[in-house]
Structures are given as C-alpha cells and as structure tokens.
Amino acid sequence: MNNKKTALLLPSLIVGLVIILLVMGLNNKNNIKQAAVQPKPLPAFQLNDLQTDQPLTETLFTEQIDSEYTLLNVWASWCAVCKIEHPFLLKLAEQGVNIVGLNYRDNQQTAVSLLAKTGNPYQKVIFDPAGKLALDLGVIGTPESYLINKQGMIIGRFNGALTPEIWTAVFQPVTAKLTTKEG
C-alpha cells in the first residue's frame, strides 16, 4: 500500500533532515563567513598617535589620507595571533594599501618597540589604551580589521588574522567595487 510505503520512508526523511541541519551547523563553524556589512559611519573619536602623541580624530580617514579606502587593523603587542598576520600586513603595505593601526589596550612602550623590531605596516597608529574606540567599533577580539572608504563609512569587516585568502575572499570584492565606481 502506498500509505505504508510513505510511512516507512517518513522516519528516514525526517532523520535525514535533522542530520543535514547538524552537518550544516558543523560546516558553518569551519567556513570563513563574513556576512555583508551594512555601511556604518566610523565612530567619532579623539585619541593620540601611538608614536608621536599627536591628537587624531575620525578625519584621519576622510581628509588626511589620500586613497579610496583604508584598512583599519586592530592589534596589540600581547596578541599572539596578531604576530601571525603581521608579515601579510607588511606585504599589503608594500603593495600600496593604506593601513591604519588601532593599538588596543596596550602598553605604549611595548607597542612602539614591537613595531620597531618587526616592521611597521601602518601609516599611523591610534593609541587606544582603554579600548574606547574599539568599543564603539564593536571590536570582539584582536586581531580584527575594518575597511573604511573615503567618506568615512565602514564597508568591510573581518574578525581574525588576515591572510591572503581572506583578503581575496572578504575585502577585495569590496575594494573592487570602489575602484570600478570611480573608473
């Protein structure tokens, strides 16, 4: 009877559905997934430059820097994973990408000497010892990177160490859109 056959298949279908959901959940954990970012204005701030102690504000990203976009990289000298992404940041800087650092909850001397020792990929570094700007940005943990356009809007975001793969997968699509718009 057809009813019987459907009844027999039903458990397998339902169980199959459950297992698929769980497997999706497992895979999800492994995938690099960054949902599209709703453009948000960069929060206003008033902090000092790490190396020169000069005051910096959000105009750093709109007026003082002359490029389509800037990469804002949140890091700290005590952050082990940040050391892993550091060489790639140096490479990006060499390729002409404007990177501004946000030094998060750190000791000023330690941070400055670390940059001197391992190389400085940043045009400027914002010193945020109390994590104020980080809080307004919604920083979850170091390292974290934001893409900010010339109008001072946050158009990209990634939580974790930057690698070439992630740069290609997450940030390049966004930067490409910017340059084509101008072109």
Binding site: K4, L8, I19, L21, M24, G25, L26, A35
Partner: protein, 637 residues
Amino acid sequence: MIPEIALFLLILTGFFALLGVLFPLLATVKNSPQLRKYTWPLTYGAAVSVTLSISLLAYSFLVDDFSVLYIAQHSNSQLPAFFKIAAVWGGHEGSLLFWVFSLALWAFAIAVINRRRKGQFISHVLVVMNLLILAFVLLTLFTSNPFLRLLPMPFEGRDLNPMLQDVGLIFHPPLLYLGYVGFSGVFAFAAAALCQPQSTFPWAKQSRGWALLAWTFLTAGIALGAWWAYYELGWGGWWFWDPVENASLLPWLTGTALLHSLTASEKRHALIRWSLLLAVFTFCLSILGTFVVRSGVLTSVHAFAVDPTKGLLLLLLLALCLVVPLTLFANNYGRFKVGRLRSFYSREVLFLALNSLFAVTTLTVLLGTFYPMIFDAFNLGKISVGAPYFNALFVPLTLLAFLLMGCAAFINWGKSKLDKKRLTGALILSLLAALLIFYLLTEGTDTLVILVLLSTSWVIITPFFKLHFIKRLFKNSAMTIAHTGIAITAIGAALNAHNSSEISSKMGPGTQVVLGELSIEYIETQWVIGPNYSAEQALLFITDQHNKDYQLTPQRRHYPVRVMNMSEPAIKSLWNKDIYITLGEKIDATDYAVRIQKRAFTNWIWLGTVLMIIGGLFALLKRFPPLSRRNGENDEQ
C-alpha cells in the same frame, strides 16, 4: 607496557561485543538455544575487559606515567591522588572510554538479571547493547585513543585544569554518564520490542526498572553539576541554559516522561507506542548530547576541545539509532497490543497529557538550543538564545506540569468519578499553604513567585487527599517523595531568583559593609599555600540580626603550572539563604573588590533534588522482591 595492555583489553572488548552480536543473531536464525547461551559469557567478557582497561588507565594516572599523551595533558605529579583518578574522565578521550565502560556495565547488569531464562527476546536486547559497545569501542580506538604515547616523555604533566580540581569532578561526570548511557538499556528493550511486536515478553515492566535506575543516576548527575557550578564558579548562579547543560536536560525530560509512560504501559498496556518512542528518543538525545559537547557545533564554556570530524562519526551513529527503530516503528505500527481506553477522565489520559507536555518542553529546549546554529547556517545572521528565552517558556510549561501532577491524586486508572469534596478540600488547603509560605518566607510581591507557590503547594498537598492515603502510603511513597522534591526545587529556584541581593565594595582590613540584615567586617588578609596553588585569603566576620556570627574565607588562588588565577568563593549555607562571598581584583596595596551576595533558599534547590533521588531509589527498592521471584516472566521462544 601497561598502557599497551590496556589498549589490547579495549580491542578485546570490541571483539567480545562483536561476537556478542553474531552469536545471538545466529541463534535466532538457526533457532538454537545452545548458541544463544554464549551471549551471556560474551557480554560478561566485554564488561570485565573494559573494566580492566579503564582501571589500568587509572593506575597509569596514579603512577604518573607521563609517557601517555592523555595523562601528560591532564595530570601532574603534584595533583592529589583522587584528582588523578578523576582525571581519567576529565578529558575527551578518557570520557569516551568511560562511555564504553558504562555501556558494558549496563549490558552486564541486564545479562545478570536475566541469567536464569536465557530467552530470545533478552538475547536481542543484548545484541543491541553489544552493537552500541562495539560502535563506541571503534569510535574510541580510531578517533580518541587515550592510550597514545607521547615521546619524548615530559618530566611533568600539564596539570588538570584548576576549575576541574574539585570534588564535583569526581562524581559529576560518572553519575551523568551512567545516567544517560543507562538509557541505552531501555533503548535496547524498545528496539527488541520493535522487532517483535507480538512478543509477550514483559518488556515494559523490566524497562521501567532500568529507566528508573538510569533516571536516578541522571538526576543525581545533573544536580551535582548544578551544585558544583554554583559553588565553584563564583557568581552564585546554578543553571545557565548553556548548550551543554541543555544537552543533559533533554534526555532527562524525555526520560521523566518515559518513566511515567512505562508505568501506564506496564499496568494498563496503555501508551505503548509513546513508551517505545520515548525510549528511542531519550537515548538518541543522549547521543546528541555527546555530539554537542565534543564536536564544537555549539559554543559553550563546557565543551571539550573542538573537533568536527569526531562529530561526524557521532552523527552517523545518531542517524542509525534514529532511522532503524523509527522505520521498524512505522512498519509495525498497528501490531502492538494496546490496552483499552474506558473513559476520558482516567489516569491514562492524564499520562497522555503529561507525555505531550514533556514532548513540547523537550522540543522547546531543543529549538532554543539549536536555533542560533540553524540561523547562522542559513545566513540569517548571528543571534544568541539564552536564559531569558528559556525561562520565559520553560517556567509556564513547568507550572502546567505541576497542575497535572496534582491531579493524579484524584484521577485513577480506567475510570474515575470526580469527588468534589476532596477536590475542594485540596484546593483550599493548597491556597492556604501557598499564602502561608508567601507571607513567611518572601519579601515583596512577584506574580511569578505567587504562581509557583500556588502550583507547588498543589503538588505537595494533593497526595494527602488521595483516597485511603494512609493505607496506600507505602505504595505511593516513591511518587510522593519525588514529586515533593521537584516542587521544593521549584520553590527554591523561584525564591532564589526573586529574593536574592548583593553588594560589591572595596574592602580592606577594618572595613565594614552592610547588606540587609547582615553586617560584614573585613578582618585581615592571609596567605595560604595549597598542594598545587598559592592563595591570598580574606578573613571576614559576618553578623546577622540575631547576633549570630559567621566566619568566611574567600580566596584568590594562583596555579603556577597552568598559570591560572581562580577566585574561590566562600559560602555559608543556612536554611533560608546562602551568604556567598567572592574575592575580586586587588584594587590597591591593601584593598580588594569584595562581592557579597545573599542567595535566597539555595538549599531548597538541592534538598528538592535529593528528594527526587530518594524517590527514585525508593521506587527501585520496591521492585526487588527476593531475586528468585524475578524470573517468572513469560518468555517467548
């Protein structure tokens, strides 16, 4: 050498289990009682073998054999001996071995209890048990081998995580595992019944015994976990709706429904299909729980190290344990002998309502626990589902359950007549009791507290209104004790949430602070050296309104090997509150941030769970007439 012997014993367990599957199946095919008899010694062999294996692992811990990777990761020569043994189940690999051990023990118990008439039905039950043992042996051997060597051998181990170095660790995991692995027994009975729906073997009756035992262990395990979290973690909470906690609650919910359903099945042949399904789902929820803890699919503070591949294998096992019994169920749906329903106003219908309510509650907790995962997998974003959600839904469902529980006193099997006098009496007395407790024990008004008090006093009072309650006191004692237990836990939980208060201040020698009727004075800071830690300890004197004096010493411990700092709270437990003090950060040379809490009625929460466990044990004891009488069961050939 010894770890290799232990590994060999584990492999041997697998072989015994494999044969324990083949022999009885062959015996059924060939209709040979001779072959069938071998199932028993094979099952015993598996149990003995794995017991020796895990004992050797424990021995290796005791002698500090750090050449074994698992031991090097979880132990340390300075660790006290009982923690070294507890470390056996403190990590992922060892706890899987414990799964095998628990499965084998339960199989052993089932075999022993049924050793007189080695019938076909029981042999099929043992087939299922041995299949499970084999599956977990393979899982352990191929993905989580605790006997792997570490070369070169380190001088010292990495130490057991200080948060786990507590008496709670010694008992919580074993009880928990024995509990939810124990539901494998009922699962096996159900699976055998699903294959042979016409069998006259009284599986419902025997299943109920196994379910009771597993349920009691699981209740004890969960309660101990909550208690341990309470006094170890430092913020005074005892249940966090964390995914791993929910994973243990889910089989408990269906297990409780199963207990009740089996009673109806045993006594009245009612709810047979419910009992079968609940048995299958309870054990499957246990496997789901293990999957959740080990695969990293849900974020939790409790989870073992994340490893998705282990997760996939567990999912496979889960799929098999669901698909096979459920398909058999669908196939044999009409063939189960089901009792007759005589009246709407009967305990059978009450239990149906109860089963349904528990099913909804289980599905709700399941929904809330997995919703963030599903949300994210479908790219809807990242959300969190936590205590506010669960409390909002779980509490009303619990209140409904209490309502039903109280009705049990007035509704009997078959057909009952509504006795208006008794019912009114019970309602009035419950109302009075609730008002009395409210007036005496609570401060302030809260609708939730009132509702909880009303429904729990209903639960506690109604058994006394049962017909001939004194004559039947012994007969109903287990139920009454267990129901009173959950009611008391509910009262404790509600008052704990509503009546607790706290204060945080900067305190140093000589500072005094007031919290309600308590006056707390900081006397001095002391220094303590423990076996594997050093600590700063605050000595505090507390005086209450009756001028009773208490002394509390919260600590901040420093564990050098793992370089961890831990705050060890100090607790003074009184009948109506706990004084709970945590020593926080050091603010300056002499002062600390001290957090003082009055946790209301915490002991009632634990008391309630103890009563539930006693109720379970009582119900078990009642089932043990002299063992010689146990084998009069009709057994099908």
